[in-house]
Symmetry: C2
Subunit: 450 residues, 2 copies
C-alpha cells in the first residue's frame, strides 16, 4: 500500500481528469473550466465542469436537463429506529453532495482507504462536506471519471409514514394528502419485483457507471437499514440541445412538456407550493412506471398505422397533418369527410392538456433495455417465446398526482390506442421533498417537525 | 403523408447531423469531417465522422477500439431452408453496411417509407448498398443520431452446422474443429435464458440506442427465419485513450490484453490463419460469458482483501507491490517470509499467460446492469433477497478456444479466489468468419463452398 502512487497529493477525480486532458472529449456538457461548480441554476452549472448543483431550493434531477443515463433504485426500510433513518439520510446527503462534484464518498487515497477500512477513521477534504463514516471505502469504480452531471433525487414512499398499519417512525400524521396510493389502472400488470418501495433514489448522469456508482455507495452507507427492492437502468440517445429524443417506438417523446425554463409553469404544474406541508415546498411528486413495449408487434405494423396510433408524424414529430414538431395540437381538425385528423383514441389527444382541463406533468423518462424475456403475445397468431424486455421507464413529476398523472392517465388506460403495444409492469409513487440547503439533510424538515 | 416535410431532398442521418451542428458535441471520436469513411484501418476511420469501416479483411468489433455500449443478441434459426438463411445473411450484410454509415436500412423519407411499406418497392441511395427489401421501413429510433462508431460482429454457433442431430443446411461437414462445445466448468450455473444460439450478433456503438437499433433492424429483416434466444446490454465508462476502464469491482480490467496494434500478436492469438477453413481465415472465435458479480458481498470486504483476490492494487492498477499499471507481473516475487506477493490463487496469476504456456485471448467485455433480482447468498449469514443483477459481460476473441479460453479458464474455474464473488450464468461460443469484401455477404464462403 504505497502513498507514493499518489505523489503524496490529494487527488480528486476532477484533478485526474484535468491531467489526462479528458475535459475535451468527455461529452457535450463538459466545459473547459475545472473550477468547482457553485452556480445555482442548471444552465450555468452545466458549463462548469459537467457538474449539477446539489444544494438548492429544488432537488436536482427534476428540472435538470436530462442526462443520458439513469439508475433508479427503490429501497425498503427495515430498521425500526427513527434515529437510524435520520443518520442514514444525513450520510446520504453528505455523500450525494460529494459525488455531485465527482468526489468519492471518501478521499480516494490508498493509505487513507486502508486506514478507514481498518479503523473507521475519516478524513476531511477542503470545503466539501466531511467524508462520511463507512465500513469500507468508496467502491472505486467511478475513480477517474468526471462527475458526468450526476444528480440524485430522493423520494419517500408511503411506507416511511405507515407500513402494515405501523407508524414506525412517528411520521404517520405527516403523510401528505397528495401522496395517495395509486389506483389500479385498467391494464395494469404490475409485478412485485419492479414496484413500490419506502424510499426512491433516482440517479441521473451522462455515464451509466457514475449513476450506478452513486446508488451503490448510498446502499452501502445505508447498510442493514434498507433492503434493495427493485432497480431500473435507463438511457436516452444524445441529441443536440432543443431536439427531442426518440423513444424505442421511433417517435419523438417529450415534445409537449411544460417548459422547465418557465418558473410560472413549473410552479403551477411541478413544484409543491403553499398547499403542501412545509417539507414538501419546492418539492414534487414522482410517479414511475416501467412500461414494456411490444416492439416486435409494433415493428410489424405499418407506418401510417403507427402515426394514427400516436397522432403525430414519425419523422418530423409534427401533429398529424402538420409540418412542425412544435406546432400546437389542433384537436378539432377534421378531414373532408368530417372525421378527426387526430383520432379520438390517438395517444397525443388523450395525453393532451386540453383533454384534462389543462392538467400537465413533467415527463422525464428514459428508455430501458433489459435484454429479452419470455412473453406470451396477446394478439394473433398468439406467438410465445423470448422477446425484447425493453420499453419506456416513464418518470413524471407533478405538484399533485391526483390532478396530474392519475387524472391524465386514468382515461388513457382505458382508451389509448397505444395500449395494444404497451403494458405497465411496475412502478411507484414517491414524495420528493424540496431541495437541501447547506447544513441540512435531505428530508430534515419532515423529521424535525414530527 | 407529406413529402414537403423533407423539403423534397434525400436526407441521410449524416446530412441531418451536419445541419444540426451535431458533430461538435456528439462524442470523442466524432470529427468534423462529414465525408463517408473509406479508411481500411480503425484508427483512421475513427477520425472520420465517428464511423467504423464495415468492409475489410476482419469483421469490425474485434480489434476495433471498444465503443461505450454493446447490445448482444443470440438467435436460433427456425427455418429449414438453406436459401432462406443465405437470403437473410445477404440482407443483413447490406443493412449492416448502411447502418455502419449512420444510414437507415432504407432511405428515411416518408413517401418512400409509405410506398415501401405498402408495396415492398425499394429505393437506392448514391454509392451505398441498395436498401434491402423489408416489410416495413426502418423503425426509426436512430433517426437523427450519428453512426456512433457502430460495429456489427456476426458469429455462427454449432446449431447452424448441426442441431438435434440434423444437418439442416448441408453444413455439418464444415463445422470447424475449433468450434467445440464448451465443457462444463466448475461452478457454472448457466441458465437457458442467457445461453447458446445458432447465430450471434454483437452490436457495439457509442450510443445504446444505435446499438439496439441495429440488432432490431436485423431481427426484422430476418423475420420468421429466426427466434431471439437471448440478449444482453453492456456498457463501459468513457475513459481517455490509453486508460483502462474500471469494472464494477472498481478494478481496471483489460490491462494485460494482447496489443491490437501489433499484427504479429493478433495473428498469433486472435485471427484464424491457415489452420482454419477458408471461410474462417481472418476470423476469430468468440466466447461470451455472462458473469454475475456479488457486488454487495464484494463491497463488504476490505480493500486489502480485494487486492489480494485480484493480485493488483485497486487505485493504480499496478501488480501487488508494484507502482505502475503496465509493469510486468512478477509472479516469482516473495515477501520477507518467502510467501508469494501475488497469491497462488490470485486472479491475475491464474489468468496470466505465463500460467498457461503463453496462451492469450483478446478480452473485449462490458459491464452489465440489469437492475435487481432475487438471490440466495452462498455465504454467511445466508441472506436472501433482491440484489444487483449486475456484473461483467465477458467477451473474448481467440484463434482457437481450445488453446484460448478453455485452456486459460479451466484451472481458474477451480482455483481463482475471485470465484467466491462471481458466477457464470450464461454465454455461448461462436465462430466469427473473416471480414466481408464488397459484393460478398457475411459467411458467403461457408455456404458457397458447401
Amino acid at each position: 500500500m504505497s502513498a507514493r502512487e499518489n505523489g503524496g497529493s490529494r487527488s480528486s477525480r476532477r484533478g485526474f481528469l484535468a491531467a489526462a486532458g479528458f475535459a475535451a472529449v468527455a461529452g457535450s456538457s463538459l466545459g473547459a473550466g475545472a473550477a468547482p461548480a457553485r452556480a445555482s441554476d442548471p444552465a450555468a452549472a452545466a458549463s462548469q465542469g459537467g457538474q449539477e448543483p446539489f444544494w438548492g431550493r429544488h432537488q436536482g434531477g427534476i428540472a435538470t436537463p436530462p442526462q443520458s443515463h439513469t439508475y433508479f433504485a427503490a429501497f425498503d426500510l427495515v430498521t425500526a429506529e427513527r434515529g437510524a433513518v435520520v443518520a442514514m439520510l444525513q450520510a446520504w446527503t453528505a455523500a450525494a453532495a460529494r459525488m455531485a462534484k465527482g468526489l468519492p464518498i471518501e478521499a480516494f487515497e490508498e493509505t487513507e482507504i486502508a486506514y478507514a477500512a481498518e479503523t473507521g477513521t475519516v478524513t476531511t477534504s477542503d470545503d466539501e462536506p466531511a467524508p462520511v463514516k463507512v465500513a469500507a471505502a468508496d467502491s472505486g469504480e467511478a475513480e477517474g471519471l468526471p462527475a458526468a452531471r450526476l444528480s440524485l433525487t430522493f423520494g419517500f414512499g408511503a411506507g416511511i409514514f405507515i407500513k402494515d398499519g405501523k407508524d414506525r417512525y412517528g411520521l404517520a400524521a405527516r403523510r401528505p394528502a397528495a401522496l395517495v396510493d395509486l389506483p389500479r389502472f385498467v391494464g395494469d400488470q404490475l409485478v412485485e419485483a419492479h414496484s413500490g418501495g419506502d424510499l426512491s433514489v433516482q440517479a441521473c448522469a451522462d455515464d451509466p457507471q457514475v449513476a450506478f456508482h452513486a446508488v451503490r455507495q448510498l446502499a452501502r452507507l445505508a447498510g442493514d437499514r434498507v433492503q434493495l427492492r427493485w432497480a431500473q437502468t435507463g438511457f436516452l440517445p444524445p441529441v443536440p440541445a432543443k431536439h427531442t429524443p426518440r423513444n424505442l417506438m421511433g417517435f419523438k417523446d417529450g415534445t409537449n412538456n411544460p417548459p422547465v425554463t418557465d418558473p410560472a409553469a413549473m410552479d403551477k404544474f411541478v413544484w409543491v407550493g403553499g398547499e403542501g406541508p412545509d417539507w414538501m415546498r419546492g418539492g414534487s411528486y414522482l410517479v414511475a412506471r416501467r412500461i414494456r413495449i411490444a416492439l416486435e408487434h409494433w415493428d410489424r405494423t405499418k407506418l401510417a398505422f403507427q402515426e394514427q396510433t400516436v397522432g403525430r408524424h414519425k419523422h418530423s414529430g409534427a401533429p398529424l397533418g402538420g409540418k412542425d414538431e412544435f406546432e400546437p395540437l389542433d384537436l378539432t381538425a377534421a378531414d373532408k369527410d368530417g372525421n378527426p385528423v387526430i383520432a379520438e383514441n390517438a395517444h397525443v389527444r388523450l395525453a393532451a392538456a386540453a383533454s384534462h382541463g389543462g392538467a400537465q406533468i413533467l415527463r422525464r423518462g428514459y428508455s430501458y433495455n433489459d435484454g429479452a424475456s419470455f412473453t406470451a403475445e396477446r394478439w394473433p397468431p398468439w406467438r410465445q417465446g423470448m422477446e425484447y424486455d425493453a420499453g419506456l421507464f416513464f418518470l413524471c413529476y407533478q405538484r399533485d398526482p391526483r390532478t396530474g398523472f392519475i387524472k391524465i392517465f386514468e382515461p388513457m388506460a382505458k382508451l389509448d390506442m397505444m395500449n395494444q403495444f404497451v403494458t405497465h409492469v411496475g412502478g411507484g409513487i414517491f414524495a420528493c421533498p424540496g431541495g437541501v440547503a447547506r447544513g441540512e439533510y435531505i428530508g430534515e424538515r419532515l423529521f424535525a417537525g414530527a
